[in-house]
């Protein structure tokens, strides 16, 4: 593969787990629940995928176990939020630390052992298309899932009735409840789905991106969380954010290996965060409205919707029936 194609392909591959985790968290947050335990969830599910695959020899079981772990962590968050009326941020934060510690502790026997890899599955005809072929169609199934997921989640949220309900319980659960929507049940469901996707992301890490289990997965979950906020809860933008981060990291790695100094690499490592902060500040200020006014009249609603900023209005707020 030519240099650019292989670089882009590598970026798509490296971004896949973040994309999956971010989409999962996006679904959860759209339903109104913050699952702050992402970092610990990803570490624990990555370790689980690696460990289960090693002991049972089956990749499928490993992936399923990882998804179960992710869903279980998410379940603790949503259950304690709804049934016990605890603060979601507090529980999520404790779980993130606990998940990371559990992953390190339980993963010791599997530490630094060779892991299995998801089989490579290039799509025969499509992969030969110049440029986008190798970038999009020359991966394994988990990465294909990450690409399909973005489209699927966008379609679900914006084009289906169920997606409308999802948005409703995240924005204004009282109104949804009055119309007969089982708000809390759906929040449980969507949080579990989101958690399972986070588990899938963990499996993608240990079975595809960085084979085996090492401790340096710490921090990935925070990045996924940040990307959901940075992408302003819109699936396509979240995916773009993940690709941006992966791209900047790839640049940083190139710089690190080609020069003696770590200097430019460290600055490039900081760049994504600066960019994200800047973007968030711009997005929530009034500047964007003026930008929208510059576009032609007919396009303005679409542009305004694309640039819209803001979390789901009921995010983090427990819903109580009176």
């Amino acid at each position: 593969m030519i240099g650019l194609e292989s670089t882009l392909s590598g970026i798509v591959r490296a971004a896949a787990p973040i994309v999956i985790a971010a989409q999962g968290e996006l679904i959860t947050e759209r339903s109104g629940v913050i699952n702050l335990s992402l970092d610990g969830s990803i570490m624990l599910s990555a370790m689980t995928a690696h460990a289960v695959t090693r002991t049972t020899g089956s990749l499928t079981q490993g992936v399923l176990a990882a998804m179960a772990v992710g869903a279980a962590m998410a379940f603790v968050v949503v259950f304690s939020s709804i049934a016990l009326r605890l603060n979601q941020v507090a529980v999520g934060f404790v779980l993130t630390i606990l998940g990371a510690d559990l992953a390190i502790f339980l993963g010791k026997p599997h530490f630094n052992q060779v892991g299995r890899e998801i089989p490579h599955m290039p799509i025969p005809v499509l992969k030969d298309i110049p440029l986008i072929g190798p970038v999009l169609f020359n991966h394994n199934i988990l990465i294909y899932i990450s690409l399909i997921l973005v489209v699927a989640v966008t379609f679900y949220i914006y084009r289906t009735r169920a997606g409308l309900t999802l948005r409703a319980i995240g924005e204004h659960p009282e109104a949804a409840f009055v119309r007969g929507t089982p708000v809390n049940t759906l929040r449980h469901v969507y949080t579990l789905v989101g958690g399972a996707l986070v588990g899938l992301a963990g499996a993608t890490y240990s079975l595809s991106v960085k084979l085996g289990w090492r401790e340096d997965l710490a921090g990935e979950g925070w990045i996924a969380l940040a990307i959901v906020i940075f992408g302003l809860w819109i699936p396509a933008r979240v995916a773009l954010g993940a690709l941006l981060i992966a791209g900047l990291r790839s640049i940083a790695i190139d710089l690190q290996s080609s020069k003696v100094l770590d200097l430019p690499a460290q600055i490039v490592n900081m760049l994504p965060w600066f960019l994200m902060i800047l973007t968030l500040m711009v997005a929530t200020s009034g500047v964007l409205e003026r930008v929208v006014r510059f576009t032609p009249e007919r396009l303005q609603p679409a542009v305004r919707r694309f640039l819209r900023a803001g979390p789901p209005a009921a995010l983090g707020v427990p819903f109580e029936k009176h």
Binding site: L86, F105, W273, L280, A283, T284
Partner: protein, 409 residues
């Protein structure tokens, strides 16, 4: 038409006596109320210990032996106790700062970054003003007392400014609080790496270790007696900080305002509390205390610890958040919970090495202790949730009017 009496006439309850003497019934109810409140955290802690004991026996390790190793690593000898205290101080002072922000309803996840900022600040002061053992002062060499003072000032300023940045991003920039904290953590961690990694400006020439050179003696804290790792200066500073924290929380009006903000930000604002100013002030104060914690971590007193490394904080920030979650908003409990967690953290290493050398050797990783710490907090939080949901305290129940009202006809 006669009105139907709303309740049967019964012996009227005695009117409340003048002065502070409550009737016996009220005192008894108050005690009964207190029992679940006290029991709940113990239930949580017991559950957590139960889980860890199960894990220990599953791994083939004797829990009583584990407790013994824990004791040996932390409290057995004077040297260990001194080392424990020097580990306890930065943890406690960071937790004090977090009590302020938590009371105001803020999530200062950026505290880890503020500790690192403080460490960088103290190192910078040493680089500017300390001389000796291969160090050249950047500006002018100063005496020991001045170097220490400036190190603390720089550290507190660095931590405070970093926290202020997160706060301003939240209030003026509209940047989500948690995201701002996480982002600033990553940024300053990366900056720290830049300073001490290969080719970085603070790495000594010719060294390949990701750390600065050891601070000269004039920039290190003074050791206390024979204890190489213990200095009394952090103890004094932390004690003063504790007293100030208690004054703020229990005496001052500002503490009351913070509590009001924590309960309901909007109501506090409508009642005239300067919420934005208080958010900035609370965050900045927390950052200053966290910065001091960072300074304690890099200033020794022993030469092997007096340097800026790639990871100056070692997770103390997150541990402090767990401590504050566990202690609730009680400023009084915080130093004791910090002590307990310091014991666990410091003893972990001894537990691991103790079991490795035991007969038969058990491969018990020290991360089990960290699992214990986070499990304790989780169990206690869940226990409080169960308690509030299923056995709400009487004060939270709707007022029933059978006790206190005189019967009416």
């Amino acid at each position: 038409m006669t009105t139907i009496p709303e309740r049967t006439t019964a012996t009227p309850a005695p009117a409340p006596q003048a002065g502070f003497r409550a009737d016996r019934g009220q005192v008894w109810r108050w005690i009964l109320d207190l029992i679940p409140t006290l029991l709940t955290p113990f239930a949580g802690i017991a559950a957590a210990f139960g889980i860890v004991i199960l894990i220990l026996t599953w791994q083939g390790a004797d829990p009583r032996l584990a407790l013994d190793f824990l004791y040996q690593g932390t409290l057995a000898s004077a040297a260990e106790r001194a080392d424990l205290v020097s580990y306890w101080m930065p943890l406690a002072i960071a937790a004090f700062g977090l009590v302020l922000t938590y009371t105001a309803g803020l999530w200062n996840i950026g505290v880890e970054g503020q500790i690192i900022a403080g460490a960088i600040g103290a190192t910078w002061a040493a680089r500017l003003f300390a001389e000796g053992e291969g160090w050249r002062a950047g500006i002018a060499p100063l005496s020991h007392g001045w170097v220490l003072l400036l190190s603390f000032v720089f550290a507190a300023a660095a931590g405070g400014l970093w926290a202020l940045l997160a706060a301003v991003l939240k209030t003026r920039g509209g940047v989500n609080e948690i995201f701002g904290g996480v982002a600033l953590n990553f940024i300053i961690q990366t900056f720290n790496m830049y300073l001490v990694s290969n080719g970085g400006p603070w790495q000594p020439v010719g060294s390949r270790a990701t750390e600065t050179a050891a601070f000269p003696e004039v920039a290190r804290l003074t050791p206390f007696g024979d204890f190489r790792h213990l200095s009394l200066t952090p103890v004094y500073i932390t004690t003063v900080a504790f007293v100030i924290l208690l004054l703020i929380m229990y005496v001052s009006r500002w503490g009351l305002q913070l509590r009001a903000m924590g309960k309901n930000l909007r109501s506090a604002f409508l009642l005239g509390v300067h919420t934005e100013r208080n958010v900035l002030a609370a965050m900045m104060l927390c950052g200053m205390l966290a910065g001091l914690a960072g300074a304690f971590r890099v200033m020794g007193p022993y030469v092997t610890r007096a340097k800026l490394t790639a990871n100056p904080s070692g997770g103390i920030g997150f541990l402090a958040i767990l401590i504050v979650l566990l202690a609730g908003m009680s400023a009084l409990l915080t130093p004791f919970v910090s002590f307990a967690f310091a014991v666990l953290s410091k003893g972990a290493q001894k537990v691991e090495s103790g079991f490795q050398w035991s007969d038969p050797p058990v491969n018990l990783d020290r991360s089990l202790v960290r699992v214990l710490q986070s499990t304790i907090v989780l169990m206690v939080v869940l226990a409080f949730g169960v308690r509030n949901r299923f056995f709400p305290p009487r004060s939270a129940q709707p007022v029933t009017d059978d006790d206190d009202e005189v019967a009416r006809t």
